[in-house]
């Protein structure tokens, strides 16, 4: 256990080979904001190199669950949680496990694109290296920028204006820039919180293609309100629900084809067929 922990703390230097997709297991997660409980003993396994979709009506706790997976939840005042999150078998909430380290290994893309507006497109991509205290040579930087932008499906559109500000891009391009920025620090898991809800259909399709292309190299967990999107991009789906004044939880989880084609719980069937929520 100790050996695993210390090994997990060694990060590969920038530009070195990526470590590949990791397995993420949430064990009996409960969460509170102040005295309000929003999640009750939720467990979910997210296998490596798989896209897991979290679906459910608003306020069911799926975004909170996602933010617990990379320790963003605790940045909110009054937020508390119980349970464990295992990254390749190691609990990221172990005392002494550094929160910055957990976030380096488990990247996140937010609902609203949030590139750093004062930075150029290229500097946005490599911003994470500076933030995590890693130096990189000029030539390595150029190749890293191209590599990450290509993997995020943005390279062709921006390769001639890498020194322009990131905020000058369209919403969909900004979101893919944020994906490239998250990829640049070599995460083993990528969390996406409704990444397409602020985007038009064409941009949404481009981001979905990006998710599809990334699946082999990074484990993806995506929160979405769009049933078709969940069905298109994910291999596994978990349906969250918070019924009248009770904390949220998972009603049903399993292969996406089963959740959408032959759900075992009638509430899941009602939701995926658009009868509520």
């Amino acid at each position: 256990m100790t050996a695993t922990l210390s090994a997990a703390h060694d990060l590969p230097a920038a530009g070195e080979e990526r470590r590949g997709p990791a397995r993420l297991d949430a064990l009996e997660i409960s969460a509170w904001f102040g005295s309000t409980q929003v999640l009750d003993t939720v467990s979910l396994s997210m296998p490596p190199a798989t896209v897991t979709a979290l679906i459910g009506p608003s306020g069911c706790g799926k975004s909170t669950f996602l933010r617990i997976l990379n320790r963003m939840h605790e940045s909110i005042a009054g937020a508390q949680l119980a349970g464990e999150v295992h990254l390749n078998g190691v609990d990221i909430y172990t005392p002494g496990y550094r929160v910055t380290h957990a976030r380096k290994r488990i990247g996140m893309v937010f609902q609203k694109p949030n590139p750093f507006p004062a930075m150029s497109i290229a500097d946005n991509v490599t911003a994470g290296l500076g933030l995590t205290g890693r130096k990189i040579s000029r030539s390595d930087k150029a190749s890293l920028v191209e590599d990450c932008l290509a993997r995020a499906g943005l390279w062709a559109e921006v390769k001639d204006r890498l020194d322009r500000p990131g905020s000058a891009l369209s919403g969909g391009q900004q979101q893919r820039l944020c994906i490239a920025r998250a990829l640049a620090i070599g995460p083993e898991v990528l969390l996406m919180d409704e990444p397409c809800s602020a985007l038009d259909p064409t941009s949404t399709r481009r981001v979905e293609e990006t998710i599809h292309d990334l699946r082999e190299e990074v484990t993806i967990v995506i929160v979405t309100h769009n049933m078709q999107q969940a069905a298109r991009v994910s291999q596994q789906t978990a349906f969250f629900l918070a019924e009248a004044n009770t904390p949220g939880g998972i009603v049903e989880s399993g292969p996406t084809t089963q959740i959408f084609g032959n759900p075992s719980d009638p509430r899941t069937a009602d939701y995926v067929n658009g009868r509520f929520g």
Binding site: M72, K104, N114, F116, P117, G128, G130, L131, T132, R181
Partner: protein, 336 residues
């Protein structure tokens, strides 16, 4: 088609139409009211400048450019100039800014990004309260509490950095029985007292802008594995640039014009000396305050001219700041 049937022109009409302005009557009343208030403030400022400018004419006629180069202020001998007080003003302001800027910036960052939630509200109130304390209080505090200790710091500075003209004092700093009187009542100690009142002012403005840094960008930096300092460096400081400049300029404006605290601490001396640690200097506002009561008509004009120069300098400083902020990233700018 419809146009043709109505007997109108058949060609498409491309000239822009006259649109009726969209404001409702109640909006118009408020618009007029707020425009009036805004115009009044501008007119008032303009009138002050105009008044001072007009009153300065006799002085400029009489002394010409020598008004700026004469060191003495001696109306009896008809030798009147603001060279010494301008230098003194800048020396006090320089000390105040060098001391207050890093402290205000660090404290603003502490409140916005590091202080625990329960402490934050208290600190914000405390800073606002400090900004509201009358300057005479800072002056008394500076004279009775700060001066005896700052003297030792001044001596230490002149012992170790005396080779630098700014820190040189015309006495032996290493003497066993050192001449304390040479270190009291200096621009340095006056500047320290002014910095204490500039800090809360600058800090309050900076903190308010830092708190406005977008949560989305903060979370982006955190989610990339950034430390709190990483968030500050990547998001808060670039966003808060306008607030940093605005707060600093506000503090500089106060430092240039501060009168009461400076008058208590400084012993007036009309000399052109770069030695900020040495006792004796005078500022423009101090000159006006100490001579205004018993001034003759021609003296009064000379004092108002000194005030006019200070007014113009402050105006230039603030306009420069507004220009710099206007060019920096939009959305993060602040009014000064």
């Amino acid at each position: 088609m419809t146009i043709a049937s109505q007997g109108g022109p058949v060609t498409p009409r491309r000239t822009p139409r006259q649109l009726s302005p969209g404001l409702e009557p109640t909006d118009r009343i408020f618009e007029g009211f707020s425009l009036g208030i805004g115009a009044f403030v501008l007119i008032l400022t303009g009138a002050v400048g105009l008044f001072l400018g007009l009153e300065s004419i006799p002085t400029f006629r009489h002394y010409g450019f020598h008004f700026f180069t004469t060191v003495d202020w001696n109306p009896e001998l008809d030798k009147v100039g603001i060279a010494a007080v301008l230098l003194g003003t800048f020396e006090v302001a320089l000390v105040a800014m060098v001391v207050s800027f890093p402290l205000a910036l660090a404290f603003a960052l502490f409140i916005s990004d590091y202080a625990p939630k329960w402490l934050k509200g208290w600190l914000i109130s405390a800073v606002d309260l400090m900004a509201a304390v009358p300057s005479i209080i800072y002056g008394i505090w500076g004279f009775y509490l700060l001066k005896p200790h700052a003297m030792n710091l001044a001596r230490w500075l002149s012992q170790h950095f005396g080779w630098f003209p700014l820190f040189h004092v015309n006495t032996d700093p290493n003497a066993a029985v050192w001449q304390q009187s040479q270190y009291t009542s200096s621009a340095f100690i006056a500047g320290l007292a002014v910095s204490m009142m500039a800090i809360p002012l600058a800090c309050a403005v900076m903190r308010a802008v830092f708190d406005q840094a977008p949560l989305g960008e903060r979370e982006a930096a955190m989610a990339l594995g950034g430390t709190q300092w990483g968030v500050v460096k990547t998001v808060v400081l670039p966003f808060g640039k306008g607030g940093i400049i605005g707060g600093t300029m506000l503090a500089l404006g106060r430092a240039l014009g501060e009168t009461a605290a400076v008058a208590i601490i400084l012993s007036p001396a009309y000399i052109l000396s770069p030695r900020i640690l040495q006792s004796g200097a005078q500022t423009t506002s101090g000159l006006i305050a100490s001579n205004f009561g018993n001034a003759s008509q021609s003296q009064l004009s000379a004092l108002l001219t000194a005030g006019f120069v200070l007014f113009v300098i402050t105006l230039i400083v603030n306009s420069t700041a507004a220009f710099v902020i206007g060019r920096s990233r939009s959305g993060a700018a602040t009014e000064i």
